[in-house]
Each structure stands twice: as structure tokens, then as C-alpha cells.
């Protein structure tokens, strides 16, 4: 007998529809008062600053490992001088935006899903509703905006750390000075290597925020439901980030004519 996957086609469609309507509601509510600036700043701090150490570890390992892995092959083709440029372009265009977004999705989407899910099952969201406090603006709009602000900033921060990781490996393995590494990298990258990669993380931040909030806001089934919301938030947001990345790369290539 065929084992059920636990996620029927019907459920997937319902989820896609639910998330789409939730995203639409975000765009409608983001321009409607009350505007919760203070809470948005607090959430940006929670999501952004508290991800600093995680992003730093991921980025430095990413930069270092990519350099270590690519150096032998590049040397074989007599292209050792191009290692900094190759690493820089790979990191700035693709690796840093996507890997950091997926890693942050693991931390932030799960956190938002579990937090709002707990608030739902303990009736705190209902309590906001009956106190006429507009929980959507206070809880959802602020978190989605915070993710959209934090992700590009974390990506820039990750870009820098990843290049430091690469520079350290180049220094240790090839004796390349930091100044030479810096000059080589700056001469080999331009606008299209950096800006589209950073801008697409705004979309990834939106995905993390909307999916995390959707799962938490619609959590049911007690504590088990809260766990499910957190897990689903990570799985769905990570998948959507990867799918969206493919589309954004295609559009970027068309707009900026990147070879």
C-alpha cells in the first residue's frame, strides 16, 4: 500500500491560497493605521541583531570553505589569480543572499511561527482582537517589515564576513596580503554583482515574515499545533526562498544583461 505523505494536494493548494491571501492582507494593512513603529523597530532588533553571531559563523565558514575548495582546481587551470574574484562574485551574487536567507529562515520563521502560535492557542491574539487592538498590524505587519529590513542588512554584513574568511585562507595558503586581496576583489566586482543579490533578500525577508506569521496566526491544535506551525514555517519559507531565487535570477539576467 502506498504510504501517505501527510500533505495532500488539496492541503497544499489550501496552504498556497491561504499564504497568498495573507500576503495580500499585509499589503492592505501596511498602509492602514495604527502604525506600530516602536514594535517594528523592536522586531528589527530581535530579528536582525540577534542573528549577527549565527550569520557571522555561517558567512566566515562559507567564504573560507569556498576558497579552500576552489583553489586546487583553479591552480590546475593556471587561474590561481582569479580565486578572489571568483569567490567574491559567487558570494555576493548568490551564496550569501540565499544561504543566509535560508539559515535566517530556520531561526526567524520558526521563532515567529512558534511565538504567534503560542499567542493563538493561549488566546492572546483573541484578547487583542476583543480589546480592539488590531493584532494583524501589531504582530504581523511589524514582523514582516522587520524581516524585509533585517535580511538585506544581514546579507551585507555576511558578504563582508565571508570575504574576510576568504582573505584569511588566501593569506594562509597563498601568502596573499589583505591589501592585495581587497584590491583584487574591488577591481573584479561591480554593481550587478552586489545590488541585485542584496535586493532579492528583501523578497526573501518578505517570504520569511509572511510564512512565519501565517503559520503562527493560523495555528491550532494546542502545543502540538504550535510545534507544527514552527516546522511548517521553516520548511515552506525555505522552499519558497529557493524557488523565488530561481525566478529572481532569471529576471536579474534579463534586466541587467548579466553574462
Amino acid at each position: 500500500m502506498k504510504q501517505g505523505t501527510g500533505l495532500s494536494f488539496n492541503k497544499i493548494l489550501t496552504k498556497i491560497g491561504g499564504i497568498s491571501l495573507f500576503a495580500f492582507r499585509f499589503f492592505r494593512q501596511v498602509v492602514s493605521p495604527p502604525f506600530e513603529f516602536k514594535e517594528a523597530v523592536k522586531q528589527t532588533y530581535e530579528i536582525g541583531v540577534r542573528s549577527f553571531s549565527l550569520v557571522a559563523v555561517v558567512a566566515i565558514v562559507m567564504g573560507a570553505v569556498l576558497t579552500m575548495q576552489s583553489r586546487p582546481t583553479m591552480i590546475k587551470f593556471g587561474a590561481e589569480a582569479f580565486v578572489p574574484a571568483m569567490v567574491a562574485v559567487s558570494v555576493l551574487r548568490e551564496l550569501c543572499p540565499v544561504i543566509i536567507s535560508v539559515i535566517v529562515a530556520g531561526r526567524v520563521a520558526a521563532g515567529i511561527g512558534a511565538e504567534l502560535g503560542s499567542m493563538r492557542v493561549t488566546e492572546q491574539i483573541d484578547a487583542m482582537e476583543v480589546a480592539a487592538l488590531n493584532p494583524f498590524n501589531y504582530l504581523v505587519v511589524t514582523r514582516v517589515i522587520a524581516c524585509m529590513i533585517a535580511l538585506p542588512l544581514l546579507t551585507i554584513y555576511g558578504d563582508v564576513i565571508a570575504m574576510i574568511g576568504s582573505a584569511i585562507v588566501q593569506q594562509v595558503e597563498a601568502g596573499m596580503s589583505f591589501r592585495l586581496f581587497y584590491n583584487t576583489v574591488m577591481n573584479s566586482i561591480n554593481f550587478v554583482d552586489f545590488v541585485p543579490g542584496m535586493l532579492k533578500t528583501i523578497i526573501f525577508g518578505f517570504i520569511i515574515g509572511v510564512v512565519g506569521c501565517y503559520e503562527g496566526f493560523n495555528s491550532d491544535g494546542g502545543t502540538e499545533g504550535v510545534g507544527r506551525s514552527a516546522t511548517d514555517a521553516v520548511v515552506i519559507s525555505s522552499l519558497l526562498i529557493l524557488i523565488m531565487d530561481m525566478l529572481v535570477v532569471k529576471v536579474t539576467v534579463l534586466i541587467f544583461d548579466v553574462a
Binding site: 488566546e123 492572546q124 483573541d126 480589546a131
Partner: protein, 261 residues
């Protein structure tokens, strides 16, 4: 004596969740300043009734009006204006975890009033004083006991000085002594603030302590509507069953208290 004004009017409402028919053609009225208890066993639709009254759920059939205005015809703005006049005490208190007790109350005041910080703080302290939690102003909800959380939730419900307070199982899950103190608190708030109250409970002693009027729900239907003293003489089989079970529970609890103390 002039008849009291009707605050909430519920006319022939029915509500189902899937195939489960929770409320079936229920009608009732809540008047200004009156305390109505809604009795019934678990799953009889008592909490659903409260959520319908405050507009958290929509009825499948029937009309609910607040101050003569049909809820289903209200705009979002009107619904918010109505909710500001209603306090709601949830079963677990539903305090916002990320805020201290004082911030929980202040949050509601800041959103809905133009009061100065000093006035807001004074109002918060006054509300907490009424429920006997003045000293817990800066504590986080996680450090409060179950009874204290309900008291703090009650303080948040009364901070906007509502016309009506809805209590969802205010004594459930509490020891008999704390349950009795919550019932006393509801009564004293009633006397001091003069608000109307709807108290959903399956705790008969609480109902006897606080009720002006009682309704009993069973299987989604209203089987009794009248003074709490009339429950024993109503002589309906469903009602007797409920009363006997409640009395048994009460005598068991009294026996336990007697043994422990």
C-alpha cells in the same frame, strides 16, 4: 421601578462547527448592570456564546445586537468602538507574555485613550488595586500563579471602564479557596463599577454567589432562564442531572478541604 435598558440582545442564534451543532436557536437578553451566569457542562456552547457576543465568531443564523445595533451590520470601526465598551476575561487570563502586568494594562490604554502618562499610570494602579495585584505591577505574566493571572486579566478587562464584562470560566482550574476569592472579586467589581456581567461557568457555587439571573445550556439548547434560586425547583431532568453532578463535585471538594485543613 423602571425596566433596565437592554445592552445585548441575542435572537435565535445557531452556530455549528462542521457537523457539530454547538448552539441551536438560542435567544437571551443582557440588561445594564445585571449579572447573568451561563451554566452548562463542557462542550455545551457556553464559551462559543461569549465569542459570538463580542464578534470573534459569526453566528450561522440569528441576530446579535449591542445597544440596539446589529453586529453583522457594523463596520470595523463600529465593531472596535463596541469592543472598547466590553471587557473580556479569558480562561487563562490571556496576558501578553512579552509585557509586564502594568504594560499589559497600559498597552490597552495607550491604544484607546489620549490620557497623559501620569493619568495612565494612575488608572493602571487603580485597576490593579481593585483586583488586589498592585504590588505585581512590574512582574512578568510567567511569574504569576493561575489565580493571579486571571486577576491581572480582569484588571486589563476593566481598565477601559467597560459597560459589560464577559467572563469565560473565571474559576476553572483554580483551587476552591482561590475560586471563591475570584467569585467575591467579581461581586465586588459589580458593586463598585455597576457594570453588566456575563459569567460562563460550570461552577455552581460561583453561580449562587454572583448571579442576578442564570441560564443553563444543554446540547446547544437553553433549558433554563431565570433566577439562580429557581434552579432547584425547575424540576427538569437535564437540569437535575447537572445540579446533582455539581452538588456531588461540591461535596467532594468540601470533603477534601475538610481533610486537608
Amino acid at each position: 421601578m423602571a425596566e433596565k435598558k437592554t445592552l445585548i440582545s441575542v435572537e435565535n442564534i445557531s452556530k455549528s462547527f462542521g457537523k457539530l451543532n454547538v448552539l441551536n436557536d438560542i435567544s437571551l437578553e443582557i440588561h445594564e448592570g445585571e449579572t447573568l451566569t451561563v451554566l452548562g457542562k463542557s462542550g455545551s456552547g457556553k464559551s462559543v456564546m461569549l465569542k459570538l457576543i463580542v464578534g470573534l465568531l459569526e453566528p450561522d443564523k440569528g441576530i446579535i445586537s449591542f445597544d440596539g445595533v446589529d453586529l453583522s451590520l457594523m463596520s470595523v470601526k463600529d465593531l472596535h468602538a463596541m469592543r472598547k465598551q466590553i471587557g473580556f476575561l479569558f480562561q487563562g487570563g490571556a496576558l501578553f507574555d512579552s509585557m509586564s502586568v502594568g504594560e499589559n494594562l497600559n498597552f490597552v490604554l495607550t491604544a484607546h485613550t489620549d490620557m497623559s502618562l501620569v493619568d495612565r499610570e494612575a488608572r493602571v494602579v487603580k485597576a490593579l488595586d481593585l483586583v488586589g495585584l498592585k504590588e505585581k505591577l512590574d512582574e512578568m505574566p510567567s511569574s504569576l500563579s493561575g489565580g493571579q493571572r486571571k486577576r491581572a486579566g480582569l484588571a486589563r478587562s476593566i481598565v477601559l471602564q467597560p459597560k459589560l464584562i464577559l467572563y469565560d470560566e473565571p474559576t476553572t482550574g483554580l483551587d476552591p479557596i482561590t475560586a471563591a476569592s475570584i467569585a467575591e472579586l467579581i461581586l465586588s467589581l459589580q458593586n463598585q463599577l455597576g457594570v453588566a456581567s456575563v459569567v460562563v461557568t460550570h461552577d455552581l457555587p460561583t453561580a449562587y454567589t454572583i448571579s442576578d439571573r442564570t441560564i443553563v445550556l444543554d446540547g446547544g439548547k437553553k433549558i433554563y432562564d431565570g433566577p439562580v434560586e429557581g434552579l432547584r425547583t425547575a424540576n427538569q431532568s437535564h437540569l437535575n442531572e447537572f445540579l446533582e453532578a455539581a452538588e456531588l463535585d461540591r461535596s467532594r471538594r468540601e470533603k477534601i478541604i475538610h481533610t486537608v485543613l
